[in-house]
């Protein structure tokens, strides 16, 4: 007998917060807005906690997973297809929900301090709550269509928040870019769903899993196509090659938004989706290797760009793309639980790093350029400490959280035969680059002499510092649960990890190698950036081609601009603006208007105001009526041919 967990409350509470702040926000006092904005996610977190404590065995509830809640009314009910509005709680969604509502709540608290002086305070929090609503719908979804609702919804919230300072053109453009690039991914998701309906007649994940597990002989073919379509969707949402271009621009939004949406939660939706539909991928080795290759390629590609970026948030953005690449690499070697493990630890330390970066930016009055920072170690001791934790975690130094999850992914990749070795090497190289650019950021921000014009940087308010400390603790301890326990916990949802039983020696050696590589990255960063900053410039001058390529992000934006955007704009300009808009629509309007004004120009002559012309028309009219009445027209017309013929006869 399942106790009622009231899953529907989880998305509904933030939605109520969104409605209250969104509709009434302007007229409400600030403390009231803050209360609504914070209580909604906190209450939602408590519902999740209540549900999961029962599952973890702390509370005497006896729910068996997966636990499903379905709206009694079917959503779509046609022959051969029924789609319900259903929520499913299983191990995978518990992990995701805890991260989303937990980290989400912390970032709400942080925002109270960060956005305190912003005019759009209520609007900001209503969007943030709206995001939590859609994100929890996405994660709880029991079928692909409900997931798609959340999927589109988080895209909307992301758009609204990237363009939050819409008076700035770059911010508004970045929002549009994110939305449009995501459309390409959504196209893949939709096609994947249509193919699922056509081939299986269902979108429900559990039903799909049962059908596929019962037929292990179904391999490849249409399953590959479906899996690749879904992967396209995931690549759009999770900023993978070739659709990653929107994420760096998304940094135009407020920094807490970058932390919540563009680092910790929304961008991991693609990883979650692949893990959720992992049965499909398991039946298609081709799709799996595509996922792994895309992940590995993205990881190293973004890491190389991050090496030379000077905007602190952009470094973190490219690092996010790179870490998401790791997660896809994990999915691609069927180590879904390792990917989700890395997703979780990444949510902790990347949210921490973004929020710490936000604190730095806040204290320097909006300065984001690493070249103008430096020496903040003594001025911002708490921010310095937590950033150090975050950097150590992302670099993969034990015992911080990132070490465990990254190690699990690399180990799983290593076990995948020859291809796996290549993926492993790419992953290892990325780990080296990651350590290098993160310590570069660390040195440039906190070490050395101050290069800032702002002489009085100040520590942030308590709401921000407290959040940073909690996240720092999570970034330290988040990995201590260990891959083995975590994998066992997730196994019912996403299957077991590929392991070689008892080969702890190999695992140990690989960890040593990974740590050594990370430390090597740190050492090199130390040499480059600790004291004088002449070395980087020397290397940049020695390798001008490479440096330019990296500093300009491989010219991908320019390439897309020339190949996709320009032709599209040209066609729109010619076919749509000139031919359709100006030619057909404008022409029709001009024609109608022209007829009316031409007729008017003629008719207005009658309204001359001249008495005698009126009288003349009156007399002429009367004469015409008389003529009409007096002349026997019937006779005249009847005789007309005769007259004509008579004349011809003469």
């Amino acid at each position: 007998m399942n106790a009622d967990l009231h899953l529907w409350l989880i998305p509904l509470l933030p939605f109520v917060g969104f409605l209250l702040n969104g509709i009434l926000g302007r007229g409400l006092p600030k403390w009231f807005i803050t209360t609504i904005a914070l209580v909604a996610p906190l209450a939602s977190f408590c519902v999740v906690l209540n549900a999961s404590l029962g599952i973890f065995g702390f509370l005497p509830a006896s729910n068996s997973l997966p636990y499903t809640e379905t709206c009694p009314l079917p959503w779509i009910n046609i022959p051969a297809l029924q789609i319900d509005f259903s929520f499913v709680l299983d191990q995978l969604s518990i992990v995701m929900l805890l991260v989303i509502t937990g980290v989400g709540f912390l970032i709400h608290v942080y925002s109270v301090g960060y956005m305190a002086d912003d005019e759009g305070y209520a609007r900001y929090f209503s969007y943030l709550n709206l995001f939590l609503f859609f994100m929890t719908v996405l994660v709880l979804a029991g079928n692909a269509l409900v997931m798609f609702v959340g999927w589109e919804g988080v895209g909307l919230a992301s758009y609204l928040l990237i363009g939050f300072w819409f008076q700035k053109k770059s911010a508004a453009d970045a929002g549009k870019k994110a939305f449009i690039v995501n459309r390409i991914g959504d196209f893949g998701f939709l096609i994947g769903m249509f193919l699922l309906i056509a081939n299986f007649g269902t979108l429900t994940f559990s039903e799909l899993g049962a059908r596929l597990n019962a037929h292990s002989e179904w391999q490849g073919g249409v399953l590959t196509i479906i899996a690749l379509c879904l992967m396209l969707g995931a690549a759009g949402k999770s900023a993978q090659l070739p659709l990653y271009i929107w994420l760096p621009d998304a940094m135009e939004g407020p920094t807490p938004v970058s932390a919540l949406i563009h680092a910790a939660t929304m961008v991991t939706a693609g990883v979650y989706m692949v893990a959720r539909t992992h049965v499909l991928f398991d039946h298609s080795p081709v799709a799996l290797s595509v996922v792994a290759t895309v992940g590995a390629a993205t990881a190293i590609f973004a890491a190389t760009i991050a090496l030379v970026q000077n905007d602190i948030k952009r470094v973190l953005a490219y690092s996010t793309i790179s870490q998401l690449g790791y997660m896809f690499l994990g999915c691609g070697v069927a180590a879904y639980s390792a990917a989700i493990f890395h997703l979780m630890t990444h949510a902790f330390f990347k949210a921490l790093l973004f929020l710490a970066a936000g604190a730095v930016i806040h204290s320097l009055g909006g300065e984001q350029d690493l070249r103008k920072m430096g020496g903040l170690r003594k001025k911002l001791p708490i921010t310095f400490a937590v950033t150090t934790v975050g950097v150590l975690a992302i670099a993969g130094i034990p015992p911080f959280a990132g070490f465990f999850s990254k190690d699990a992914i690399l180990y799983a990749a290593f076990l995948q035969g020859t291809n796996g070795k290549i993926l492993y090497s790419v992953g290892l190289l990325t780990a080296f680059l990651t350590a290098f650019y993160m310590f570069r950021l660390w040195y440039l921000t906190f070490m050395g002499e101050s290069r800032s014009e702002n002489v009085h940087p100040h520590e942030s308010p308590w709401s921000m510092r407290g959040t940073l400390l909690i996240l720092a603790v999570l970034s330290v301890c988040g990995g201590w649960i260990g891959m083995e326990h975590f994998g066992n916990f997730l196994a019912p949802s996403v299957g077991t990890m590929p392991t070689e039983a008892g080969n702890w020696r190999l695992e140990f050696i690989l960890s040593i190698v990974a740590v050594a590589v990370a430390l090597e990255g740190w050492m090199i960063a130390d040499k480059f950036y600790r004291r004088k900053l002449t070395k980087p410039a020397q290397y940049a001058a020695a390798l001008p081609g490479t440096y330019n390529l990296l500093a300009n992000k491989y010219f991908v934006d320019e390439f897309y601009g020339a190949v996709v955007v320009k032709p599209l704009l040209g066609v729109s300009k010619f076919a749509l603006e000139w031919v359709v808009d100006i030619g057909i629509l404008g022409g029709a309007a001009w024609l109608l208007g022209g007829i009316a004004s031409f007729t008017g120009a003629i008719l207005q002559r009658w309204q001359s105001g001249n008495l005698r012309s009126y009288a003349a028309w009156l007399a002429a009219g009367a004469a015409a009526v008389l003529l009409f009445l007096l002349v026997p027209w019937a006779t005249v017309l009847a005789n007309l041919p005769a007259i004509h013929l008579g004349m011809a006869g003469h």
């Binding site: 001359s608 105001g609 001249n610 008495l611 005698r612 009288a615 003349a616 007399a619």
Partner: protein, 107 residues
């Protein structure tokens, strides 16, 4: 001689006279420039019509035509009063009675 005066005037003469008077009225209305003359031309047209009314009433021994003439005269009197008042107002406003120059349809 006696017989000439004793003879009744033929119907067509009355109608002809009426038509001539009406045409004179129309022409006067169209070509005269002074508003008062135009006004008089209207009276001329009205009376031309009155004449044909009376003529037909006599011809068909129908008293209705003659009664109608009284109505016309009554309306004409009222119209003369209103019309002359308008003319005075126009003259005061514009200091002219030339119809070509009062074509603005407002004072």
């Amino acid at each position: 001689m006696n017989s000439f005066f004793a003879q009744e005037v033929p119907l067509s003469w009355y109608l002809l006279l009426s038509a001539v008077l009406f045409s004179l009225g129309v022409v006067g209305f169209l070509i005269k420039r002074n508003l008062i003359t135009v006004f008089m031309s209207i009276e001329l047209m009205l009376n031309a019509v009155n004449l044909s009314f009376v003529t037909f009433a006599h011809q068909w021994h129908a008293v209705k035509g003659q009664i109608f003439v009284f109505f016309v005269m009554m309306v004409a009197a009222a119209e003369a009063a209103v019309g002359l008042a308008i003319i005075i107002a126009v003259f005061r406003a514009r200091a002219t009675l030339a119809v070509d120059r009062i074509d603005r349809m407002k004072l």
